[in-house]
C-alpha cells in the first residue's frame, strides 16, 4: 500500500522534479541580475553614494543618441548581410554534400564544420592577421589574382569593416548551417522525390516542391537563431578591430560595453541592453508570425 502511494506520488510529481533544476537555477541566478539591470536602467549611477533615480531619462537620452542609432544601423546591416549570404551558402553546401555521388563525404563535412571548433575570439585574432594590409593572406591573394585591386585593401577602415566582419562570421558559421541543412535533407522522404519524378517534375521543380517544404522548419530555425545571434554580436568585431573600432563596426552590444564598462555609465548601458532586448523580441515575433511557428508552440 505504502509502495503504491510512493509510486503514485512519484508519477504525479516527476515532471516538476525534472524541470526543477531549471526553475531553481532561474530563480537563484537569473532573477537578481535581471532585476538589477532593469532597476539600473532607471537610475543614473555615478558612484556608490550617487545612485539617483532618473525615471525614463536614460531611455529618453537613448532615443536621440546618434551613436546608438548608428550602432543599430550597423547591427541590422550586419544581420541582413550575414543571413543573406550564410543561408544560401550553407544550403548549397549541404545539397552538394548530400549527393550520393560525393566522395569523402565525412572529410568535406569536417572541412566545412571545423571553423566552428575555433572560439569566436580566436577567429577574430586569426582574421585580424589574415586581413592585414599588404602582408595578410587575404590581401596577398587578392593582389595576386586581381592586380587592379592590389594588396592594400584596408579591411579595418570604415568602408570595409562590414565586409570584414561578415567574412569572418561566414567562415565561422557556414558549416554550422550546413550541418543543420544536412540533417534536414536526410529526413526528407525519398518516396516524395520518386512521386514527383513520376509526375514529370524536373530537378528545379523537385527542389522547390519537395526539398524546400521538407527543410523549411530548419530554414526558419536557422534564420531565427541567426537573427538573435547577429543582434547580439560582440566578441568577433570587438577583438577583430582592436584597438580602434571604426564607427561602422560598432554593434549594439559593443556600444553597450563602451558606455557601461569603458565610460562607466552602468545605468545607461542597462537601458541600451533593454532596448536591445525589445528589438530582438519584436524582430523574433515578426519572424515567428510570418512563419507561423507560434501556433505550434502554444500547444
Amino acid at each position: 500500500m505504502n509502495r503504491d502511494r510512493l509510486w503514485a506520488w512519484q508519477y504525479r510529481y516527476a515532471p516538476y522534479l525534472f524541470v526543477a533544476p531549471f526553475v531553481i537555477l532561474f530563480c537563484c541566478f537569473l532573477l537578481y541580475p535581471l532585476g538589477r539591470s532593469i532597476t539600473l536602467s532607471f537610475y543614473k549611477a555615478a558612484g556608490p553614494k550617487h545612485l539617483v533615480f532618473a525615471g525614463f531619462e536614460n531611455f529618453r537620452f537613448l532615443l536621440l543618441d546618434r551613436l546608438f542609432w548608428l550602432a543599430v544601423l550597423n547591427t541590422v546591416a550586419f544581420t541582413v548581410a550575414y543571413l543573406v549570404l550564410q543561408i544560401p551558402v550553407s544550403l548549397g553546401l549541404a545539397l552538394m554534400l548530400n549527393s550520393k555521388r560525393i566522395w569523402f563525404r565525412n572529410f568535406f563535412r569536417f572541412a566545412f564544420f571545423s571553423p566552428q571548433l575555433v572560439g569566436q575570439v580566436f577567429v577574430a585574432v586569426i582574421f585580424g592577421l589574415l586581413l592585414a594590409p599588404r602582408h595578410g593572406l587575404v590581401n596577398r591573394a587578392l593582389g595576386a589574382m586581381i592586380p587592379a585591386i592590389g594588396t592594400e585593401t584596408n579591411w579595418f577602415s570604415a568602408r570595409m569593416a562590414l565586409p570584414a566582419i561578415v567574412l569572418a562570421a561566414l567562415w565561422l558559421s557556414v558549416g554550422y548551417g550546413m550541418i543543420y541543412f544536412l540533417a534536414a535533407l536526410q529526413s526528407v522522404d525519398r518516396d516524395l522525390y520518386e512521386a514527383a519524378e513520376v509526375d514529370g517534375a524536373g530537378k528545379w521543380m523537385q527542389f522547390w516542391h519537395v526539398t524546400m517544404p521538407g527543410i523549411r522548419p530548419v530554414l526558419t530555425f536557422l534564420v531565427l537563431v541567426g537573427t538573435i545571434g547577429s543582434f547580439q554580436v560582440f566578441e568577433l568585431p570587438y577583438v577583430l578591430f582592436r584597438p580602434t573600432v571604426p564607427p561602422t563596426a560598432v554593434t549594439i552590444v559593443m556600444y553597450l560595453f563602451q558606455t557601461g564598462f569603458e565610460s562607466g555609465d552602468i545605468g545607461y548601458a542597462s537601458a541600451i541592453g533593454w532596448a536591445l532586448v525589445l528589438m530582438i523580441l519584436i524582430v523574433s515575433l515578426i519572424q515567428l508570425r510570418v512563419t507561423g511557428l507560434l501556433r505550434e508552440d502554444a500547444r
Binding site: W7, Y11, A14, Y16, F18, P21, F22, L25, L30, P33, L34, S37, M96, S99, K100, R101, I102, W103, F108, S114, L117, G119, Q120, V121, I126, H135, L137, R140, W171, G175, I179, Y180, L182, A183, Q186, D189, D191, L192, T211, P213, G214, R216, P217, F221, L224, I228, F234, L256, F257, S270, G273, W274, L276, I280, L281, S284, L293, E296, D297, R299
Partner: protein, 307 residues
C-alpha cells in the same frame, strides 16, 4: 522556439520514414556522366580549400619565427633552417599552458556531463508530461534566449561576489548547469518517443526516472551525441564569464590564458605563441567532433528539424 511546423505532406513523410537518405538536388539520376561528377567535386574541393586555408596558415604560423611571421605567407619553404619549434617551447616554458589545458578539460567535461543530463531530463518532462505551469515555463525559457548575456554581466558578477563564489569553478558550473537551448532540443527529440512504450513501462512498474533513463534516452541517443558536442564546444570556448570570475592564475582556462597574451599596440603580442596555443586548443574539440560526427547530424535531425 525549435518547434517547427512542416507542411502537411512533409510531416507525414517524416513520421513514416525518418531516416532514409533523400536523393538530392544535384545527385539525381538524370544528371549522368562524369561531367557532373567532376564539376560537383571541383566546386566542393575549391570551397573546402578556402575553408581549410586559415587552418593551414595557422599551423604554419606555429612554426614561424617572429621575424618571419608576415614575411612569408605560409612557411619559408626553401629555407627549412628558418622553421622553428620555439613557439611550442615558449608556450610551455613561459606560460602555464598545460595547467590551462587541464582546467579547460575539467570544466568542459564537468559542464557537459551535467548539462546533458539535466537538459535531457527537463526536455523529457516538457515533451511527455502535462503539468501545471508548463506554458508560463516555456514562455520564460524562450524569453531568456532573447537576453544578451552582457546585459546581466555586472549583476551576475555582484551576485557571485555576494555569495562568495568568486574565483571558484562553482560560479561557472552551477549557473550553467541547465541550458534552455538544450532543453528545447531534447524536447523536440523526446516527442518522438512513443507514449505506448512509456505506458508499457509504467505497467511493468518502472519509475518515471527509470523511464527517462531506459526508455527515452536510448531512443534519443543521437540527440544526446549532438548535444554533447554542442555543449562541450560551448564550454571549451566560453570566455567572457570565466575570465571575470576566475582570479587565481592557476585556475585559468585556455581562452583566458591565451587572450591575456593579446596586448594593446604598446604591449606587444607574441603572435607565434598565441597561434600555437590556439592551434593546440582546437585539437581536443576536433577529436570529439570526429567521434561524434555521425550522431551529430542524426541527432540534429531528430531535434531541431522535425516537429
Amino acid at each position: 522556439m525549435t518547434q517547427m511546423l512542416p507542411p502537411i505532406e512533409a510531416s507525414r513523410a517524416i513520421a513514416k520514414a525518418p531516416k532514409c537518405l533523400a536523393p538530392s538536388f544535384t545527385g539525381g539520376s538524370r544528371m549522368t556522366g562524369w561531367a557532373g561528377f567532376i564539376v560537383l567535386h571541383a566546386v566542393v574541393i575549391c570551397l573546402a580549400i578556402i575553408s581549410l586555408t586559415p587552418f593551414f596558415w595557422l599551423i604554419c604560423a606555429t612554426f614561424k619565427r617572429h621575424e618571419d611571421f608576415f614575411t612569408h605567407a605560409f612557411l619559408p619553404w626553401s629555407e627549412p633552417g628558418r622553421w622553428t619549434l620555439s613557439n611550442y617551447r615558449l608556450l610551455f616554458e613561459q606560460w602555464p599552458f598545460a595547467a590551462w589545458m587541464f582546467n579547460s578539460l575539467f570544466l568542459s567535461c564537468a559542464h557537459t556531463v551535467v548539462v546533458v543530463m539535466l537538459s535531457s531530463l527537463g526536455g523529457f518532462a516538457l515533451a511527455k508530461y502535462r503539468f501545471a505551469g508548463k506554458k508560463p515555463l516555456m514562455l520564460i525559457m524562450l524569453s531568456t534566449m532573447l537576453l544578451p548575456s552582457q546585459v546581466l554581466l555586472s549583476g551576475n558578477f555582484l551576485l557571485m561576489y555576494r555569495i562568495g563564489w568568486l574565483d571558484s569553478y562553482a560560479a561557472i558550473l552551477v549557473p550553467g548547469a541547465v541550458s534552455v537551448f538544450g532543453m528545447l532540443l531534447f524536447m523536440q527529440a523526446m516527442r518522438g518517443v512513443p507514449d505506448e512504450l512509456l505506458q508499457a513501462g509504467r505497467v511493468d512498474g518502472c519509475s518515471e526516472f527509470r523511464l527517462w533513463w531506459e526508455v527515452a534516452l536510448p531512443i534519443v541517443r543521437p540527440m544526446t551525441g549532438a548535444y554533447t558536442l554542442l555543449s562541450f564546444m560551448g564550454a571549451w570556448n566560453s570566455f567572457l564569464w570565466p575570465q571575470i570570475v576566475l582570479q587565481t592564475p592557476t585556475k585559468y582556462t585556455l581562452p583566458i590564458g591565451l587572450t591575456n597574451m593579446l596586448g594593446l599596440p604598446e604591449y606587444q603580442t607574441p603572435y607565434g605563441v598565441l597561434m600555437t596555443g590556439t592551434f593546440l586548443s582546437i585539437l581536443p574539440v576536433a577529436v570529439l567532433f570526429f567521434i561524434l560526427q555521425r550522431d551529430f547530424i542524426a541527432g540534429l535531425a531528430t531535434g531541431a528539424v522535425k516537429g
